[in-house]
């Protein structure tokens, strides 16, 4: 007998999902809070500096609310966080949320482009390798992939910068734009997304757009290579697995051409686990590949957090971390939804 419940199991799933999301966010805040308190770096000292008197130190401690009981501090922290207030940076006094809002689009832009490159290059490479296991092409794809896995990325970045920018002059240098455009960007382009490629395209500033491309292409290509390494290798193994399934033979029995067998029949199945893989690699790029950002003077979230880390600017570190964590959770959510979409068995 079917129970007629107006929302049905899907509603239940959504509720369960939201609950676990809230728990994850809460946990994220709790852990960052704990980290902020157990780190033996005194935020007060970091703010007032070397010359401060004891009285100034005490005054600041009270101003920051650090004299209150821990539990109370935590609830204030959570309360503020849910209102979008992650505190102010110790170094710059800037509200962390504003700094993150400035840095995150840069990271997002880089990570997105890198992931696109990784998928566009990685999926066909993986498929190629899987359809000809043991061939030269397979070995090349595997080796190139494994090298991408093993390469110290920042080293490759420095070399790339030296060669493609320093010697050959094919690409723009560090930074998101040439200085000329960088100055103009703030004043002449409405900043809708914070992502230069999108904003300049929307504003029809193609000169600036192409300049931005010349700057992003090298770091994105580099990160794209790493992501390609991961994606191609996973694609290869998923694809090989699918190609050994019986339904592939069925498709061939029906006389389907090989491209259709691989790219439609097998690919639809490969797409299911691949979504998770791509989301994961995207998430890791969003965490910020710190060293790449540093080398390319890319004002992303990864370098923001690391710089803050270096000077023990804990509110900035933790605020940035919470945002990265949220991005991670959000991505997970999206990949989960996509997963349900492509896999009828998961619905």
């Amino acid at each position: 007998m079917a129970v007629s419940f107006p929302f049905g199991p899907r509603f239940k799933a959504v509720v369960g999902f939201s609950v676990s999301l809230v728990i994850t966010i809460f946990g994220l805040l709790l852990v960052t809070f704990i980290i902020g308190r157990v780190v033996p770096i005194d935020p007060v000292l970091a703010i007032v500096g070397e010359r401060a008197t004891q009285a100034q130190i005490e005054a600041t401690r009270v101003a920051l609310g650090l004299d209150k009981p821990l539990v109370e501090q935590f609830f204030i922290y959570v309360f503020n966080a849910f209102q979008g207030d992650l505190g102010a940076s110790i170094r710059t006094g800037e509200p962390v949320i504003e700094a993150v809002a400035r840095h995150f689009p840069a990271t997002l832009e880089l990570a997105t482009l890198a992931t696109i490159i990784g998928v566009i290059a990685g999926v066909p490479a993986g498929v190629l390798a899987a359809t000809r296991p043991g061939s030269i092409a397979d070995h090349i794809v595997r080796l190139v992939g494994l090298m991408g896995y093993s390469m110290p990325v920042f080293w490759l970045g420095l070399i790339g910068l030296l060669v493609f920018y320093g010697h050959l002059g094919w690409v723009g240098g560090p930074g998101r734009l040439d200085a000329v455009y960088d100055m103009m960007y703030d004043f002449e382009v409405p900043q809708r997304s914070g992502m230069i490629l999108i904003d300049t395209a929307l504003a029809g500033r193609w000169d600036m757009f192409s300049n931005a491309i010349s700057h992003i292409i090298l770091p994105a290509g580099l990160l794209g290579y790493v992501s390609m390494a991961y994606i191609s290798r996973m694609t290869r193994s998923f694809m090989m697995n699918e190609l050994s399934q019986e339904y592939i033979t069925t498709a061939r029995v029906k006389g389907m051409p090989e491209w259709r067998v691989v790219w439609v029949h097998a690919m639809k199945n490969v797409a299911v686990p691949l979504i998770t893989v791509v989301a994961l690699s995207y998430a890791y790029l969003l965490e910020g590949s710190v060293l790449t950002e540093t080398i390319f003077a890319w004002p992303g979230l990864g370098s923001y957090i690391t710089d803050a880390l270096m000077v023990a600017d804990m509110p900035a570190v933790l605020g940035g971390t919470v945002v990265v964590g949220l991005a991670f959770v959000a991505l997970n959510m999206v990949s989960d939804l996509l997963y349900r979409l492509v896999d009828p068995r998961a619905r």
Binding site: S244, Q245, E246, Y247, T249, T250, A251, R252, V253, K254, G255, M256, P257, R260, H265, K268, N269, V272, V342, D343, P344, R345
Partner: protein
Amino acid sequence: MTLLSVKDLRVTFDTEAGVVEAVRGVSFSLGRERLGIVGESGSGKTMTGRSVLRLIRPPGRIAAESMVFDGQDLMRASEREMRALRGKRIAMVMQDPKYSLNPVMQIGAQLMEGLRQRDRVGRAEAKKAAIAALEAVQIRDPERVMGAYPHELSGGMGQRVMIAMMLIPNPDLLIADEPTSALDVTVQAEVLSILDGLVRDRGMGLIFISHDLRLVARFCDRVLVMYKGRIVEELAARDLLSANHPYTRGLLDCLPRIGGSRGPLPGLDRTADWAQG
């Protein structure tokens, strides 16, 4: 007239443990009739069937003196020519419907794929053909099944969908690999009568693979009995139940029967001469 003639077919697998010979020199020919292939599990029935479509996956290799289908030597046909034959003229009902249907494609799409992709048939027309085919194999609610995914079907339904899918293009030769093993006994009879009708009315050739000797005896015209990749006996189906070959006999006798004796069932004697080599 002969539709298919196979001479000295061999299928080998290069594995870690050495070369496995799955089919070792099988020869047979087939007219527009029902040819049964029986034998215990692993005797090479499926491999023989698949070889006709040249669909043995590496590390498997096919070798044959000749394999002529309707005047065309399949061993010498290009991959392109083979593709033109597959599905359209030679079709095969795969053994295990659970794994033989694409899990993330709707049944309808899989049914219509051949028509739409190869024959460039319009959507509406293809759908009509697909529904008709489903009805032909006794599926009650074809509209619903068209929109379903394989995991939503029972094993028997899957098997019927498989049969419907292969019959849509009206092939000249159908290789049916245990097409009724998952079917309820009642549906089984229906499906068999459909296949029977196709052979009789349209002159289709049918290779019927099964390990159920009694079923084959009732349904087929001729039978090949396989053991370890070889044909040990070829005989008319009506003679099967009275076969004399000890292997065939053994296969028959080891089945229990309703109302039979409850003493120990006779087993196969694998030490005999025929079992060697």
